[in-house]
């Protein structure tokens, strides 16, 4: 079967035309390699809708269009806290192409940016204008339809957000795992803790046991040790060419500890 590319004026038009047989093409880093391999065929839909490439910052949150690339994130001073995350995605060429929207759909071991969005408690804005928490979206993303933008709360202080990517090859390597932590402080105590792991399950997942340890506590060596001990509870790490599930379980706590120590 051949490929048929449809160009639509807006994302809403593309959503209406998508149907059950269409594949949406964003930055190309995920879909084009499947087109090249022949594993995606039939209707490919795309749009040059300029709304998708906008970044709108307000006082406490930023709305990032689904078509914004990692390179565009890196060029945006308002998104400094997300720079280490965007820099961890691919090499320079990939960062010029890969989009925030595409990363939301990236299968294991990709999706480091989504891991950060999960820790920050982002909300997904769909093509129809509906908003839903990223957790809900990740649970059924295959059926979620097209994404217009993500609404990302802005951490109140720089040290409240941390990100770490573990890879065997540097500076460009696929994740053994990635970890993002959002630790807002309220009078010295942690309130609203969110910790997300990438490459430790079929989608980025929250480490809820570790979050429970940290919530309401003061960040110190003993809290960090207890959070690290609880790191893998509820996670579902896979075995792949990069690491076994056993190895991922063994080292997850160590890496969480290192990240939290950086955020003291």
């Amino acid at each position: 079967m051949a490929v048929l590319v449809e160009n639509h004026a807006t994302l809403a038009d593309a959503q209406r035309a998508l149907g059950s047989d269409g594949t949406y093409l964003g930055g190309g880093t995920l879909v084009m390699r499947e087109v090249n391999a022949g594993t995606v065929q039939g209707r490919i839909l795309r749009t040059g809708d300029p709304a998708l490439r906008q970044i709108r910052a307000s006082y406490d949150s930023v709305e990032i269009g689904a078509g914004v690339t990692m390179a565009m994130i890196l060029a945006e001073r308002d998104l400094a806290h997300l720079h280490p995350v965007a820099r961890a995605v691919g090499g320079p060429q990939v960062r010029n192409m890969a989009t925030v929207g595409g990363n939301l759909f990236a299968a294991h071991p990709y999706g480091d940016f989504t891991t950060a969005l999960l820790a920050l408690g982002a909300r997904i804005v769909t093509a129809a204008g509906a908003q839903r928490p990223i957790e809900d979206f990740l649970r059924d993303r295959e059926r979620a339809g097209l994404v217009a933008a993500v609404q990302v709360p802005r951490p109140r202080e720089a040290r409240a957000f941390g990100f770490l990517k573990v890879s065997r090859i540097k500076p460009k390597g696929v994740s053994v795992m990635s970890i993002a932590a959002h630790l807002p402080r309220d009078g010295g105590r942690l309130r609203g803790v969110r910790i997300a792991f990438g490459a430790m399950g079929p989608t980025p997942l929250r480490a809820q046991a570790a979050e429970r340890v940290l919530e309401g506590a003061t960040l110190d060596a003993s809290t960090i040790a207890r959070a690290a001990a609880a790191a893998v509870e509820g996670l579902d790490p896979p075995t792949d060419a990069l690491a076994s599930a056993w190895y991922r379980r063994e080292v997850a706590g160590v890496h969480l500890r290192r990240l939290l120590e950086r955020m003291l």
Partner: protein
Amino acid sequence: MALKPVTFTLNGEAKAAFTEDGQNLLDFLRRGVGDLSPKYGCGQGACGACTVLVDGEPHLSCLVLAETVQGRRVETTAGLGQARLHPLQEAFMERFAAQCGYCTPGMLMSAKALLDRNPRPSREDVIEAIAGNLCRCTGYEPIIAAILDVAEGRIRA
């Protein structure tokens, strides 16, 4: 198969050619336009041999849908050395930075994008700039040295 006309600029020259539906930019440049300088390595975006510049920024041409370069500026290694070699090409020869040479066109384009944006990069900047380009025989050291030779003015055009 439907053919679509694409007009764009290739190495400063206006071009018009037909692309097949779903054709990637690499295949379009090589078979449709006849520029054989970008190389086909993996077709998955892993190796960087197909790197070209689109509007000055490095892209993996095997992952770019060809029709999306309509109206845009594409640069390949074929446009680097005109009457004489580009300083990066001189430096790659000087430093023996190409052995089998398959990764070289991609390396050169990544290096050019770096130097266009940042004429005095550090060694770390150079390593970061070529992080998306795999070399499996020369080794990265001569490549890094060649790029730094140009950046630090040891090789001039």
